[in-house]
């Protein structure tokens, strides 16, 4: 099996205002896939649809070789899920919560759970409603990891955690991924955090997947160009123009996707001058991609 998650033509309407529209997404096995998007873009709804918690209006979902919803419970036995909000029973203690979850997972590793409990410094007799946000986050991560899942689905797992807890949680995650070769789908709006750990990204906005690509392509593929004497008639562009604005005088700033050094020939042919090619960091690339999706420039290359 080469892909852990395959989603095709997925549609879901939640009320009058919000809908997931024609979502197509592929998470390759063994990768750490960053599911990026601003708050309210549909990341959590998409994850819930993928895990069979919401009924899709249309489309197909395959999770670890099982179709959703028919075989979702078989897939869930191999999935560790950390939801956006605490989903644990408040009156149970940490120890009771662990035992409760252990009963449902055939591959539960009690020794591993105990090891993680100690690593995360969680007191066994502490009730869930008395846990701090950081402790609750650690407990959810423990529950997601202790049955040795093949796929981890993490919905904003570090949101609101302090840097020390965030580091602990990410360290446990990376240690698990490196030792097991598991697939991770991690949703977040914390771009810099994703940049460090993800090798694939999917970018979501307003219920649509804007782009999906390897992290290296995303990181290196979006550039800001400083162009003087920019052509009015552009002709066919060899790259995707995401945005265009005047910076000073006749100088313009173009944000482009799919840039290659050989493409500077385009400006020579257009009798323009390419003055500078600036690398964008992931956050800037993310913002430019969102901006171009929300206000398309209508000045794109062959694939647009």
């Amino acid at each position: 099996m080469s892909d852990a998650i395959i989603v095709r033509n997925l549609s879901y309407r939640a009320g009058k205002e919000f809908a997931i529209r024609d979502l197509a997404m592929t998470v390759p096995s063994g990768c750490v896939y960053g599911f990026l998007g601003p708050n309210g873009s549909g990341k959590t709804t998409s994850l819930r649809l993928m895990l069979g918690m919401l009924p899709a209006d249309y489309g197909t979902i395959n999770l670890l070789g099982h179709d959703v919803p028919a075989g979702v419970h078989k897939a869930l036995a191999k999935i560790g899920y950390v939801p956006e909000r605490l989903h644990l029973y408040p009156q149970l203690t940490v120890d009771e919560t662990i035992r409760y979850h252990a009963a449902f997972y055939p591959d539960w590793d009690s020794a591993r759970a105990e090891q993680l409990r100690r690593e995360f410094a969680l007191r066994a007799e502490q009730t869930v409603d008395r846990l701090s946000k950081g402790e609750a986050g650690k407990l959810m991560m423990l529950l997601a990891l202790a049955h040795n899942p093949d796929l981890l689905v993490l919905d904003e797992p570090t949101d609101g955690l302090d840097p020390v807890v965030r580091r602990d949680v990410l360290a446990a995650l990376l240690e698990y991924v490196s030792s097991r070769g598991a697939t991770v789908l991690i949703s977040s709006h914390l771009i810099h955090e994703q940049e460090r750990i993800c090798d694939h990204v999917g970018i979501m906005d307003d219920g649509r997947l804007l782009a999906e690509m390897p992290m290296a392509a995303f990181r290196g593929g979006i550039k800001r160009l400083r162009v003087s004497k920019a052509p009015v008639e552009r002709g066919a562009l060899p790259f995707t123009l995401l945005s265009r604005g005047v910076s000073a005088g006749r100088e313009e700033e173009w944000v482009v996707r799919g840039w290659q050094p050989a493409m500077k020939e385009y400006f020579v042919a257009a009798e323009s001058e390419l003055r500078e090619v600036i690398d964008l960091d992931l956050e800037e690339s993310f913002v430019e991609l969102l901006r171009s999706a929300r206000t398309p420039v209508g000045m794109t290359g062959e694939d647009n």
Binding site: L51, G52, M53, H73, K74, Y81, Y89, E96, A103, F104
Partner: protein, 217 residues
């Protein structure tokens, strides 16, 4: 799995269950003791009157137990948007079955208390010669009535979902208002008729309308 589901439901409902258990132990004895002091303990009519009053307590206790057990797990799960149960690797109908069975198992606790409480109440009270004690019968009736009410409450929530609960509650108040309006306009008592239909055989709650007599002929 069942053991863990049972444990969590016990933990959520234990305060209400303990209240029922203690009540079932003590209240029948108290009613009989106090009642016997007020009335002539050797008059069969008076004794049956006191025991009939105690019977109302068992019916109320049954309803309280049923709805405490049916509502509490649903409220907890709903407050967490059902994310916990839905993310577990068990089909939803299987999870609902476990929840139902766990609640039904917990009904045994107050049932046992009703039986023991009934035995204590009747063995410590003087019973006129022509009357007999039926603590086992009352306990069995309590179990059946509680399970019927529990199943109804559970079904309303878990099987039908919160939309159905809303519809049921709104419908109840609409029917109530219409019945009140009808009675004010001089029509016959609609509420009483509906009540009779559901609480007399073969109505679903006819068990509550039966004789809950700890001491009877």
């Amino acid at each position: 799995m069942f053991k863990q589901v049972l444990y969590t439901q016990w933990k959520w409902s234990r305060a209400e269950l303990m209240f029922c258990v203690v009540g079932a132990f003590i209240v029948p004895t108290l009613i009989l003791r106090v009642g016997y002091e007020v009335v002539d303990g050797y008059s069969i009519t008076n004794v049956l009157g006191v025991v009939g009053f105690a019977g109302m307590f068992f019916g109320s206790l049954s309803l309280f137990t049923a709805f405490a057990l049916a509502w509490r797990p649903y409220i907890v799960d709903m407050s967490l948007r059902h994310v916990g149960p839905l993310s577990l690797p068990v089909p939803w109908p299987e999870f609902v079955r476990l929840r139902f069975l766990a609640g039904a198992t917990l009904v045994l606790l107050p049932t046992f208390a009703v039986w023991i409480g009934g035995v204590i109440a009747t063995t410590t009270s003087a019973i006129p010669l022509t009357l007999h004690a039926y603590p086992g019968g009352v306990a069995l009736r309590f179990l059946t009535a509680t399970l019927v009410a529990y199943a109804a409450g559970f079904m309303l929530q878990y099987v039908a979902g919160k939309h159905a609960v809303r519809v049921a509650v709104i419908s109840f108040f609409v029917v109530l208002l219409l019945a009140l309006a009808a009675s004010m306009l001089g029509f016959e008592n609609v509420i009483g008729k509906v009540w009779n239909v559901i609480t007399t055989w073969p109505g679903p709650f006819s068990i509550f309308n039966a004789r809950w007599m700890l001491i009877d002929v």
